[in-house]
């Protein structure tokens, strides 16, 4: 791409450079909004914009006070705890149920496979506002609205499609005769699952679990409808902050979340590379 073939005309070269420039501008559009909030979160003033002092790189225009405010605020501390607790519990449920279902679905033996697949993936497609409204009606009847249980079950349901998809993809090309061989040689089903199937699909399971966690960690609408004040999560707290009293504490939280997503992304990329290598048979 860097060097054009010699037979290219000047217009072709110009055209390709134009596309390249456009591509970089689009990347800028994707990244800039996220990068902008990081310096803004160190603003000494309670504004959402760069002050003159910040532009002049005056150290006194920068401060960590919004980060200190997070730690000092009971509401944020509770929200952080809740987000992790609800996220981890929901991920656990979604991963166990999603992985077993994906194994059953890809075995080729499942009746109505296509229909069931469409049904199992539908929590991902149905707009969250509809899901949340329905859950509010139904969970109120079950008397689990406004409880951790309600939010966890709801988030687990929203996370399962991602686990099904990623484990499905990991199982593509999985040779089920390995299972038969293992069972045929006398291994117990549970042993076969953990020693034969699991090692081969582990990258898929982990990335599915990460997706499920992020889904819960990032989810607001269901929390808005189902959770009481006790179950407020980080996004819920940000949502009301953005609606009611905008202050740069939200930017500080946002910056921390960007760092978390960066870490998640690196983990995902590592897993993907590993999965590819494994499929190519380069890993033992």
């Amino acid at each position: 791409m860097a060097k054009f073939p010699r037979y290219f005309t000047i217009w072709q070269k110009l055209g390709l450079s134009g596309v390249k420039l456009t591509a970089y501008l689009v990347l800028l559009f994707l990244m800039a909004p996220i990068l902008v909030i990081i310096p803004l979160s160190f603003n000494a003033e309670p504004y959402f914009t760069f002050t003159e002092g910040m532009l002049a790189l005056d150290p006194s225009a920068y401060s960590l006070k919004w980060y200190e405010e997070i730690l000092a605020d009971q509401k944020w501390i509770l929200a952080i705890k809740n987000s992790f607790y609800i996220g981890l519990m929901a991920t656990l449920i979604a991963t166990v149920l999603g992985t077993t279902a994906a194994i059953g679905l890809t075995s080729g033996q499942m009746p109505f496979q296509r229909m069931i697949m469409a049904l199992l993936l539908s929590p991902m497609i149905v707009p969250l506002i509809i899901t949340a409204a329905g859950m509010f009606f139904f969970y109120t009847q079950l008397d689990i609205a406004g409880s951790y249980m309600g939010v966890i079950l709801a988030h687990a349901a929203l996370g399962t499609p991602f686990v099904v998809i990623t484990v499905n993809a990991a199982l593509a090309g999985f040779d089920y005769s390995l299972v038969r061989a293992s069972l045929g040689m006398g291994a117990k089903p549970v042993y076969t699952f953990f020693k034969v199937i699991m090692p081969l699909i582990r990258p898929g399971v982990i990335s599915g679990a990460l997706f499920a966690f992020v889904t819960s960690f990032d989810e607001v609408i269901v929390v808005l409808f189902l959770a009481g004040p006790e179950q407020r999560t980080i996004p819920r707290q940000m949502f009301s902050g953005l609606r009611e009293e905008i202050n740069p504490t939200i930017l500080a939280v946002a910056t921390l979340l960007v760092i978390i997503s960066g870490l998640l992304l690196l983990t995902m990329e590592y897993l993907r590379a590993r999965g590819e290598k494994m499929r190519a048979g380069e890993l033992d």
């Binding site: 791409m1 596309v19 456009t22 591509a23 689009v26 990347l27 559009f29 994707l30 909004p33 996220i34 902008v36 909030i37 504004y47 959402f48 914009t49 760069f50 449920i93 149920l97 077993t100 279902a101 059953g104 679905l105 075995s107 499942m110 069931i116 697949m117 049904l119 539908s122 149905v126 707009p127 969250l128 506002i129 509809i130 409204a133 329905g134 859950m135 509010f136 009606f137 139904f138 709801a154 687990a156 998809i165 499905n168 990335s207 990032d218 607001v220 808005l224 980080i234 996004p235 949502f239 953005l242 609606r243 905008i246 930017l251 946002a254 997503s261 998640l264 992304l265 995902m268 993907r272």
Partner: protein
């Protein structure tokens, strides 16, 4: 069956094996299926049910409604005294329990003006002796306000009392019943306009993501893999970043005193800050940013698989680059483009958070009005009807997606 090399026993054995494997598959899928049924399908079902099942009035004035059953609305006569007396008694009970306001609100939807009528009459019957109400309460009600002698009030009450109703769907489609019971259009179009606006906004977003996603996906697919892998991180980082974070970023950028306005002002391009936040423009631009990865990723994976020699062959056979690109390369990207476009469209049509935070009034979408009826106006049944219609729309698109792309081909990251 007639395979000469297999004995009957062997066939049976094979049958048993197949059945066992099928059962095993079902055994693996069943827990999740059950879980999704309880936590997801049942709630959606409840919502659909709520959109036409509305027992509130029936629970408030059961006796009156039972009496009104025998009364023929078409006759033009007032309901029998027994019904009026029953109503007086029940109104007193409701007033004592402070629930007459609820009844007033419900009847008011069918008969505008009924709210104040019921409230004022409730105050009058509150202190009357129960025995007196049972015998002559009806007359008391009729004397309380001349509007009670209007047959339409009682028609409205009987109508509101039915448990199964399509009223909420009519409202959701900007229709209503006139006093003759015919379905007519409402004077003001609210919800159809909103559906139409949501479709339009979703279309803008889809078109924008396709337009600016296409060159980037092409570049990523054709760049050397080291460059492409590095640049891919810049597509995936936003994808993994919290939706709230990205919306916050757009608020910081678009505010009156935000980054864009202050930059433009310090460059003296504008003198007055532009109204960027709380507009439809803000909804479209922020959602385009948020949904970009859903367009780029399928496009990229399709473009990655396109053999560049087709394009080169077209060039070497004498085609001009641009027509060759449009007629040879573009058609091969259609699977990725349609997958991305449908996905972006499906996601954006039901979006709530971003329009709620950056859209102001003009950037609101159908989800926002559903949330409004759920949380502020407490008109849950209307919210359920609006949601059911939206669900119908999404189901159609989902079905289309499954036909065109295949839901099992959905890949992440």
């Amino acid at each position: 069956m007639s395979n000469p090399e297999l004995t009957q026993d062997e066939i049976k054995q094979a049958d048993r094996n197949i059945r066992r494997r099928k059962l095993l598959a079902i055994f693996f899928v069943a827990p999740l299926l059950l879980f999704i049924f309880v936590t997801f399908v049942a709630p959606i079902g409840t919502m659909l049910y709520r959109s036409f099942y509305h027992p509130t009035v029936a629970e408030l004035i059961p006796d009156t409604l039972a009496q009104l059953d025998d009364w023929s609305e078409e006759s033009g006569d007032l309901p029998p005294t027994a019904a009026l007396n029953a109503f007086a008694v029940e109104l007193q009970t409701l007033a004592a329990e402070r629930r007459s306001g609820k009844l007033a609100e419900e009847i008011n939807r069918a008969y505008p003006g009924a709210s104040s009528l019921i409230k004022s009459t409730a105050r009058k019957v509150r202190r009357v002796d129960l025995a007196e109400l049972q015998t002559s309460g009806g007359q008391l009600v009729l004397d309380a306000h001349k509007k009670w002698s209007d047959v339409n009030v009682w028609r409205a009450m009987k109508k509101s009392g039915s448990v199964i109703k399509d009223d909420f769907y009519l409202t959701a489609l900007d229709l209503e019943r006139n006093p003759q019971g015919e379905i007519v259009q409402r004077d003001t179009q609210i919800y159809l306009d909103l559906y139409w606006k949501s479709l339009k906004i979703a279309f803008y977003i889809t078109a924008l993501t396709a337009l600016i996603g296409f060159p980037l996906a092409w570049y990523l697919a054709n760049a050397p893999s080291r460059v492409a892998n590095t640049l891919m991180i810049f597509v995936l980082l936003p994808f993994w970043t919290s939706l709230l974070v990205r919306t916050t970023a757009w608020i910081a950028l678009l505010q009156t005193n935000g980054v864009i306005n202050s930059t433009l002002m310090s460059l003296h391009i504008i003198d007055e800050p532009l109204d960027l936040l709380y507009t439809q423009f803000a909804t479209v631009i922020a959602m385009t940013h948020i949904l970009m990865p859903f367009m780029i990723l399928p496009l990229y994976s399709v473009m990655k698989g396109i053999d560049p020699s087709y394009f080169r062959a077209a060039l070497s056979l004498g085609a001009k680059p641009i027509p060759a690109f449009i007629r040879i390369y573009m058609p091969m990207t259609v699977p990725g483009l349609s997958a991305g476009a449908l996905l972006v469209f499906i996601i954006s049509i039901g979006y709530y958070i971003t329009p709620a935070l950056v859209g102001g009034t003009e950037g609101q979408m159908i989800s926002n009005i559903i949330a409004f009826h759920m949380q502020s106006s407490n008109n849950w049944e209307l919210a359920a009807a609006l949601g059911s219609l939206l669900l119908l729309l999404i189901t159609l698109l989902y079905w289309l997606y499954d036909r065109l792309v295949g839901i099992s081909n959905l890949k992440l990251g």
